[in-house]
């Protein structure tokens, strides 16, 4: 026998049924669309960034390994090239300088990178946006980084001053450029990018080398590795070779600051691209299930008739599954379009802190395919149980109406409230109580909308808390001064006598490689005084942690990276001075917000380095009125490599965050609104179709529209009210999930919330519910009293 598919009559029924429930179907499709849009937006951004990154790295020959050192003779290069696994080695001079930018009071910090003049760099090539390459013999010519130039409106032809090895020099900008090494860059010793106060400049090699007495030498080397080379082995050999020359430890690309930051961001995008859509599609699946279950209950007689006509269970199952699939596909397509639009906007936000020659939005077929696939999966998951239940009934049973629901007095009445309840209120209460599963699913559905909102809003609180922790609790200094080289105790004394300085606290940072078993990290240990009051160590909640008298205090995330716990011992290989190697105990961990930190008591650190009162920088508390004077003086001190003002750091951080958060909030409010409307509208429409007979009877008995609206909307009101606290609870759980997925080596967000956050969430959900209720209320006014009463239940 040839199996025949159901005729097209059944398909026509499908279309008409869908048309009949079009507004409900649309509401569900929109929730699917919201989830798909998130998926597409995040993953297309991931994809676009990843593609741009790969081609940028390849085109500009971004190196695989980076090593900073004190100074080495040029002839060493050949020995490095001869190491097995090294493909290309390129040497440079890279130095940090203080800049004096016209029209800017505060000093800015600059990174000067040497480039050959007759050829392009072999590795880490500069992408020249406009202007030209520096001319040989014109020593002051530079290519300025695009971010810095844009922030100051500098164009080729502009000039600025730099303190180069103690001498003030004029830099002539001849070109504007970008490099894969500095896609993301921050001022030295700081946490956040600030394009105004930090720039990268590429300068003729000979001129820069001469200024630092490195004519036949270099202080930075970049390598690419041959395919299949063992990165770890190469790094070990290179480090051995460079140790006598003050090598600061080879860093693989994965830990190069810019590459590391972007890789972390990409990982986050990818996680986000799964976690957030998962939440939305979970909700969509859920509402689809409720809507279909109830819609199919109304189709009982039709199912029976079709079965009696000879349609098999699987024909009917497929028929009803097509309902769900159609809804999901419509949602999926709308979601792909919305996600592409949203993704374009998000990507332009990225181009504010990630600097690429071009960052073009790319929506790949695999992202679109994935989006449609997940919408289909959510449709099938949502529809499965509803359909199975509907088609499994034997035809004879399906012919009969569903057994009447047995009502009884509600709990409130049984505990003695019955006197005060009007019959209409009793209808509401008893209906809700008799169908606890249905009531619970409605509550849960709306609660999920509240939960999504909570997650969105909680980010504002978290960011506010992060800013408070970083700038109010941790950085209590007004100014942070970083020296180019460690200075003697005298420098502290000199700082104390600068105008407006009220208090100075020294800090010593020492480059080290921490080693725990086979895991290593190259970073700096920060030495702080036990009595520090300015730059403190605080955890995510803002609680200060004291420097342990002995041993190391590590960021919890660093301990995780190294696979160690408090109390464990790790090897500290100092990469400066006499390069001692010691075993140090991890005294404690701090669950902090930014980066990978390692702290030590400053005196212990100095003893380890066998030095007196050396300092690498200092934290200053300053008389506010004297800040400008102080800045002018600091700009002129050659030893100073960087000056950071806590207030301007905070302002620029806030500015970046504000733009990001505004987009985030808008997306969340819109999407949560869609969910809330979708759930409430569906619940209301279903109640309306199930109870139209009852409501029409009441209208005929003389009840006004307002009175019967109260019965229908009263139930929605109670369900919405119940959902609010539930939503906040679920939201808290989801926020935990999201915050955990956001945890990266670059930063960690604390999970904190304000009562106002909950209030806002509740208000938005209530408004969305009220709007959907109003729409349903209008339908109630069109109730056809006569027809309803003529038909049997």
């Amino acid at each position: 026998m040839v199996a025949r598919l159901p005729t097209s009559a059944l398909n026509r029924k499908l279309l008409r049924d869908l048309w009949h429930m079009r507004s409900q179907a649309l509401a569900i499709a929109l929730v699917v669309a919201a989830g798909v849009a998130m998926y597409v937006a995040y993953l297309s951004n991931f994809d676009s960034l990843q593609r741009t990154l790969t081609s940028y790295y390849n085109d500009q020959r971004f190196a695989d390994v980076f090593i900073s050192l004190k100074r080495a003779p040029e002839r060493l290069t050949d020995r490095i090239r001869s190491i097995e696994g090294v493909e290309v080695a390129d040497t440079r001079v890279v130095v940090g300088v203080t800049l004096d930018v016209p029209g800017m009071d505060e000093p800015a910090s600059g990174q000067l990178v040497s480039v050959p003049v007759n050829a392009r760099p072999v590795l880490n090539n500069v992408f020249l946006r406009r202007g030209r390459w520096p001319d040989p013999g014109r020593s002051g010519e530079v290519i300025a980084s695009e971010a810095f130039s844009t922030a100051h409106g500098l164009e080729p032809g502009a000039e600025l001053a730099a303190i180069i090895n103690g001498r003030r020099r004029q830099l002539h900008i001849v070109g504007i450029g970008l490099s894969p090494e500095y896609i993301y860059s921050i001022p030295p010793g700081e946490m956040f990018p600030d394009d105004r106060r930090h720039g990268v400049f590429w300068m003729e090699h000979r001129a820069l080398a001469a200024a630092y007495d490195m004519e036949a030498g270099f202080n930075h080397i970049s390598l690419t590795l041959t395919p299949g080379a063992q990165e770890r082995e190469v790094i070990d050999l290179v480090d051995q070779l460079l140790t006598p020359y003050g090598g600061l430890g080879a860093i693989p690309r994965a830990q190069q600051f810019s590459a590391w930051t972007i890789a972390n961001e990409l990982r986050q995008l990818q996680t986000f691209g799964f976690v957030v859509p998962l939440i939305f599609l979970g909700v969509a699946t859920f509402i689809l299930n409720i809507a279909l279950t109830r819609a199919l209950a109304l189709q009982r007689p039709q199912v029976a008739a079709l079965k009696a006509l000879g349609y098999a269970n699987h024909h009917l199952a497929w028929h009803y599954l097509k309902w769900a699939i159609t809804i999901a596909l419509v949602g999926g397509l709308v979601g792909v379009a919305a996600g592409a639009w949203l993704g374009t906007g998000m990507l332009s936000l990225y181009s504010q802190y990630f600097r690429f020659p071009t960052l073009t939005y790319h929506l790949s077929p695999s992202v679109i395919g994935g989006a449609l696939l997940i919408s289909l999966i959510s449709a099938v998951l949502g529809a499965r149980s509803a359909i199975a239940r509907a088609v499994r009934i034997p035809p004879a049973e399906a012919m009969r109406p569903e057994a009447p629901v047995r009502y009884r007095r509600s709990v409130l009445e049984r505990v003695g409230f019955s006197e005060r309840l009007r019959p209409t209120a009793r209808i509401v209460l008893r209906t809700m109580e008799r169908q606890p599963v249905r009531t619970a699913t409605s509550v849960l559905g709306i609660a999920l909308a509240g939960a999504v909102l909570f997650v969105g809003f909680v980010f504002i609180d978290a960011m506010t808390a992060l800013i408070d922790t970083e700038f109010q609790q941790r950085m209590r200094q007004d100014v942070t001064v970083t020296f180019a080289e460690p200075r003697s105790a005298r420098a502290l004394h000199d700082l104390e006598h600068l105008p407006g300085v009220m208090r100075v606290e020294a800090t010593r940072t020492v480059p080290v490689r921490l080693r725990a078993g086979h895991r290593t990290r190259t970073l700096a240990i920060t030495g702080l005084s036990y009595t520090t009051t300015l730059n403190r160590i605080v955890d995510q909640t803002g609680r200060p942690h004291a420097i342990p008298p002995e041993g190391l205090l590590l960021s919890s995330i660093l301990a995780e990276v190294l696979g160690v716990r408090a109390g464990d011992k790790i090897t500290v290989e100092v990469l400066e001075g006499a390069r001692p190697v010691v075993i140090s105990r991890i005294a404690a961990l701090v669950d902090d917000s930014m980066g990978l930190q390692a702290y030590m008591d400053i005196d212990r650190l100095r003893r380890l380095m066998r030095e007196g009162g050396a300092l690498s920088g200092a934290y200053l508390q300053v008389d506010e009125a004297m800040v400008t004077d102080l800045q002018t003086r600091l700009k002129l001190i050659p030893a100073v490599a960087g000056v950071a003002l806590t207030n301007s750091m905070r302002d620029s951080f806030r500015e970046i965050m504000a733009e990001n958060l505004n987009l985030q909030i808008i997306i969340n409010v819109v999407f949560a609104g869609i969910i809330a409307c979708g759930v409430v509208y569906n619940a209301a429409r279903i109640s309306l179709s199930e109870r139209s007979r009852e409501l029409a009877s009441l209208r005929v008995l003389g009840f006004t529209r307002k009175e019967i609206s109260l019965i229908l909307l009263g139930e929605l009101g109670i369900v919405t009210a119940l959902s609010l606290p539930v939503g906040s609870l679920i939201g808290y759980g989801l926020a935990r999930m999201v915050v955990e997925s956001l945890t990266s080596e670059v930063y960690r967000i604390p999970l904190v919330w304000q009562p106002s956050t909950i209030a806002w969430g509740w208000i938005v959900v209530t408004i969305a519910a009220a709007l959907s209720a109003l729409v349903v209320r209008r339908r109630l006014d069109q109730l056809d009293l006569v027809t309803v009463l003529k038909t049997r239940e």
Binding site: R422, S697, L701, G702, R792
Partner: protein
């Protein structure tokens, strides 16, 4: 294709006098339901006039019709249309709560012989009992007009007679003008007047010289 205008009723001149029982007889499509809907304030005619005592319902708006139903009309439907989540007493109370001078729900239910089933939910009552609750609900407001649309259509003869008996008793005790729609000619015996409708027109009006007691009706 344009819509086709169908006249459910054409040139019907119909009067209902205080206290009488009128049975409206006619086959399906004869217009009896439309007439009942107009009498009950569920619908207004496109042409012609509808007067209830001193109210002109001809061009009444939604609010006027609602208050007319609320104050003056009692409805009984073929399929009872009780609220399943409310007990018999509460179903009646639905109406007594919104009327100006209702009798108590208990009295209304007593009149239809259900004083022992006050706190039962519809699902716990038989069809005839449910219909009697519906009658109690309709008459509890002491309406001027009681309109019954095929009240026994879904019931067997024994139960049907009990329901009709309740209607007749209410009519007698309260003097409510009652209109009863049916296609069952046997029921015409209990009427003061029998109006036959056919094709949207009044075909005949007969006055019963001798009303048949309800318990003697047979079909």
């Amino acid at each position: 294709m344009g819509e086709v205008v169908v006249h459910a009723l054409r040139g019907v001149d119909f009067e209902l006098f205080p206290g009488e029982i009128v049975v409206l007889l006619g086959p399906s499509g004869s217009g009896k339901s439309t007439l009942l809907n107009i009498l009950g304030g569920l619908d207004v005619p496109t042409k012609g006039r509808v007067i209830y005592r001193d109210h002109n319902l001809t061009e009444a708006g939604e609010a006027t019709l609602t208050s007319y139903r609320r104050e003056h009309v009692g409805f009984v439907f073929q399929f009872y249309n009780l609220i399943p989540s409310l007990t018999a007493r509460e179903n009646v109370a639905l109406v007594t709560d919104i009327s100006e001078s209702p009798m108590t729900a208990e009295r209304a239910l007593d009149m239809v012989g259900l004083s022992k089933r006050l706190d039962h939910f519809p699902a716990q009552l038989s069809g005839g009992e449910q219909q009697r609750v519906a009658i109690a609900r309709a008459i509890a407001k002491q309406p001027g007009v009681l309109l019954c649309d095929e009240p026994t259509g879904a019931l067997d003869i024994t139960t049907g007679v009990v329901v009709l008996d309740a209607i007749a008793r209410v009519n007698q005790e309260l003097g409510t003008s009652t209109v009863l729609i049916t296609h069952n000619a046997a029921i015409a015996g209990m009427a003061d007047r029998v109006v036959r409708l056919a094709d949207g027109r009044v075909a005949s009006v007969e006055r019963n010289a001798h009303k048949t007691p309800v318990n003697e009706l047979r079909w």
